[in-house]
């Protein structure tokens, strides 16, 4: 059976503009959540988000190129470039049909939508800009990456809300495993911080307000939690078939060994126990890993009451007696919830726990919740060898994606 390894990582996130600084910030337990800068949020109840600080598109792209790039595609390209460079790969032309791309996004070109509709409805312009469609389409990021790096193999976009990147990486893993390609650039990208989007999420009553001290707003698994905080960014990973990676002497970060996905088929927003549990078990089974071999879970950990309690029960159900011995942390406490990108951002963190033997904490943990009684690595990073790690993504709509990575041996 073909094995798949991770040979490149790129991150462009609120907590760091490359993979190195991203993880360094997480290890320090530092949150990137601030008052929103992209527009004046003073009319909103929720005025905070995890934005990429000081982002200037012209620092990264020529003006002509930017005309066709929504913010989510910009992030995708920046993270992809780092992933490709870190992999050291030099593609030969004949390899291009064996090189593909799968990226996830929940909202696609949300910022272009928002400004376009503002002009159309509020300012009553009579025409939409002709680049609106090529910028907003969910597959724009995938297509832009394909064009940038000459990827001519299997390519698609997944849109499963908060699980988008998880599903993308799972698909990319299987595309290589089952022989359709040898290399896949995969991850997720999202730029959901718009006036209209925050207003919409406000109405669901799941966002933390946190206007006092934004950096402490997101408190997963803590009794005094108040909800999640929107984030933005992208992370991309290069997945590669093991023999292909060995032949070119690639640096191998970790092996991607299992993927599980499932549907709750029960409620459009409220998660079940059964659905996520089946996805975790599926990932373990594909990897041939026993529950007691898992060292670390990067939790979905949104900091909503429903998620945190449900996810805790899922972990206890699947891992049984091993559950209290597992390290579980939610890095969303620092980089926010980057929606369709979040699974990839969290995978970038998860892989580093294996590479470096240090687990990022759940920041802002203040009070134990009797219904959340696992080891959430509160507030302080922990040095611990990690051989097997799991990353959970549980989406609105009840669509779950779980990935298992292990140290390459």
């Amino acid at each position: 059976m073909r094995r798949v390894v991770i040979t490149g990582i790129g991150v462009f996130a609120s907590t760091g503009k490359n993979a190195e600084s991203f993880f360094a910030t997480l290890i320090q337990g530092k949150s990137a959540i601030r008052r929103i800068q992209q527009f004046d949020p003073s009319q909103l109840s929720v005025q905070i988000a995890a934005e990429i600080p000081g982002y200037e598109p012209l620092d990264y792209f020529p003006a002509k190129r930017l005309d066709l790039l929504d913010r989510f595609s910009q992030f995708a390209l920046i993270a992809s470039k780092e992933a490709m460079e870190s992999s050291g790969i030099q593609l030969r032309d004949e390899e291009r049909p064996r090189f593909g791309v799968v990226t996830g996004t929940g909202m696609g070109g949300a910022t272009t939508f928002d400004s376009g509709y503002y002009n159309l409805y509020a300012k009553q312009v009579t025409r939409m800009h002709p680049f609106t469609i090529p910028k907003i389409m969910h597959n724009a990021a995938t297509s832009q990456i394909c064009m940038e790096f000459g990827a001519q193999g299997p390519a698609l976009t997944t849109a499963t809300a908060c699980s988008s990147a998880g599903h993308a990486m799972g698909e990319a893993f299987h595309i290589i495993k089952y022989g359709m390609a040898d290399m896949m650039l995969t991850g997720g990208s999202e730029s959901p911080i718009t006036f209209g989007m925050i207003r919409s999420w406000e109405s669901v009553r799941v966002l933390a307000v946190g206007n006092g001290d934004p950096s402490r707003a997101c408190r997963p698994f803590s009794l005094d939690r108040e909800g999640f905080v929107m984030g933005e960014g992208a992370a991309m990973l290069l997945f590669e078939e093991l023999e292909h990676a060995k032949q070119r002497g690639a640096k191998i970060y970790a092996e991607i060994a299992g993927f599980g996905m499932s549907s709750d088929a029960s409620h459009i927003t409220q998660p079940s126990i059964d659905g996520p549990a089946r996805a975790v078990r599926m990932a373990l089974a594909e990897a041939g890993v026993n529950p007691d071999e898992v060292d670390y879970i990067n939790a979905h950990g949104t900091a909503t009451r429903v998620n945190d309690i449900t996810e805790t029960r899922v972990i206890k159900e699947v891992f049984g007696n091993h559950a209290p011995k597992l390290a579980v942390s939610s890095t969303k406490s620092m980089h926010g919830h980057a929606m369709g990108a979040t699974g990839a951002i969290e995978m970038a963190a998860t892989v580093q726990t294996i590479v470096r033997g240090v687990i990022p904490p759940t920041a802002n943990y203040t009070q134990p919740d009797p219904e959340c009684d696992l080891d959430y690595v509160p507030n302080e990073a922990r040095e611990k060898p990690v051989r097997v790690a799991v990353s959970n993504s549980f989406a609105f709509g009840g669509l779950n994606a779980v990935l298992l990575v292990r140290r390459f041996e």
Binding site: P62, A63, K64, D67, L68, R127, H129, P130, F131, P134
Partner: protein
């Protein structure tokens, strides 16, 4: 208003090109203007001149001179029904 100068300015702005690179004799192909760039230029012209350029006219625009001539006729309210796409294979201001 000098339509020629305005057209050249708009093409330069939208293509992020130096003004000196563009003359009335430049073709879209020479300027690297593809079909999607073409509809973008069309959009900018419609915004600037506050008019609608019919698709049949747009399909005939493959050079700066054709843009200027077509636009002038539209601006003067002349009949443009004879301006239909004849040439094939050259980029025009239409993605269809």
């Amino acid at each position: 208003m000098d339509v020629s100068q305005k057209v050249i300015e708009i093409i330069a702005r939208e293509q992020h090109l130096d003004l000196s690179k563009i003359t009335v004799d430049s073709t879209f192909a020479e300027l690297g203007i593809d079909s999607l760039d073409g509809v973008n230029i069309l959009f900018a012209l419609e915004e600037e001149f506050k008019l609608d350029i019919p698709d049949t006219v747009a399909q005939n625009m493959r050079s700066v001179r054709q843009v200027i001539d077509s636009l002038t006729r539209v601006l003067e309210g002349k009949d443009v029904s004879d301006l239909v796409a004849m040439a094939k294979g050259e980029p025009s201001a239409s993605v269809s």
